[in-house]
Symmetry: C2
């Protein structure tokens, strides 16, 4: 039974009747810099020079949105996405969980806090990330479940629906400003983690009300 199906009524009082949405890519797995470099090289292979720091600012967008956000319309966005995916997967052997990511998931499970992972990553990326996390058993709501990727709120709305909790009783944990923006557009609380290399200021400006260095600091608090 996926964790998302847990009945909130069984939560202990420290769960406070709230649920948690967790971003995967960059939040639970240290993957942002691999994505930046994979996009950098994908653009290069198509004759486009996009600064790595500029790409970094777009990480967290679904790739259907990242490409036009960075370079406008291109002839073959799928070829770019495919080049990125191939390069990312070549770098995926070295992926590691972010500090406390596994322990945070275990904490939520032990305390029966309703939670679900929401990711705009495609199937193969998701698979590599869950393998790095050592949690291929986890249920994930992903981009294939929705029409529009982040920062459109569709993904988080779909994840919220799985938990059967209203937005005001949900907290979104994510490393990218896009996560916080999506959450706030739906009326959820947003917590930022600095594991993606985004600063506290950037995450707060996007709507995060609390910013921590890594998931470890969230254990026992959600």
């Amino acid at each position: 039974m996926p964790t998302s199906q847990q009945d909130p009524s069984t939560s202990p009082s420290d769960g406070d009747g709230r649920g948690v949405l967790l971003d995967l890519d960059g939040t639970l797995v240290d993957s942002v810099y691999q994505h930046v470099l994979a996009w950098y090289e994908a653009f290069r292979s198509h004759g486009l020079h996009v600064q790595a720091a500029t790409i970094h600012a777009g990480i967290g967008l679904g790739s259907d949105r990242l490409v036009p956000w960075l370079v406008g319309q291109v002839d073959d966005p799928k070829a770019l996405s495919d080049a990125h995916l191939a390069r990312f997967l070549a770098l995926a052997d070295d992926l590691t969980p972010t500090p406390g990511a596994r322990e945070l998931l275990e904490d939520l499970e032990r305390r029966a806090v309703p939670h679900v992972i929401a990711t705009s990553s495609g199937a193969r990326t998701r698979q590599a990330l869950l393998a790095a996390l050592g949690r291929e058993d986890l249920h994930v709501v992903d981009a294939s479940d929705v029409t529009s990727s982040k920062p459109a709120p569709d993904l988080l709305a779909a994840a919220a629906a799985e938990l059967s909790l209203p937005p005001e009783r949900l907290t979104m944990v994510g490393d990218a400003p896009w996560d916080a923006r999506s959450a706030r557009r739906l009326g959820m609380e947003a917590i930022g983690v600095r594991t993606g290399g985004f600063t506290e200021q950037v995450l707060r400006e996007a709507g995060a009300t609390w910013v921590v260095a890594a998931p470890r600091e969230l254990i026992g608090t959600l």
Copy 2:
């Protein structure tokens, strides 16, 4: 004749009798994310998990300082540096100049503004960076010329000595907070460029009095 040997007395008045020190790695070449990943994988290969975002914050330090800053004392720091170098050079084929880097150099040359490149990178990295810039002819003051790497001011002091200008008539251009700190410790002006993925806030807190997106914005201003 290296550009650093130019006589300041020949500068046109818009040079204002000032000189310029330029960082190379991350400032003139888009190389920071490759360094982050190369260090990440070097640490991994030595059984150390250091978050990529944490490594990013150390980029700009000489590698003799970066390793202890990130992980404290290790048995064989040279093995780590070597692993980083090998990985970085494997990624170096895709290095590109930052926007306006080549044009800024040409602008300084055309206007005969005294300038010199100062880098804490080692010889092989420097070579790869100059090749990416298409300027293997450039004279560079590097870590081999000094005892202590950034943020110790030795490197910038050596570069300043080449220009025969006092610190108060020098401007340092760099992408990392460490560049700004080194410059300010010597009494130089510091300009930050956001090409290394450091935010304006981070660069200003380190002492930069002006922050631009890329070298392009500095053409005609130094």
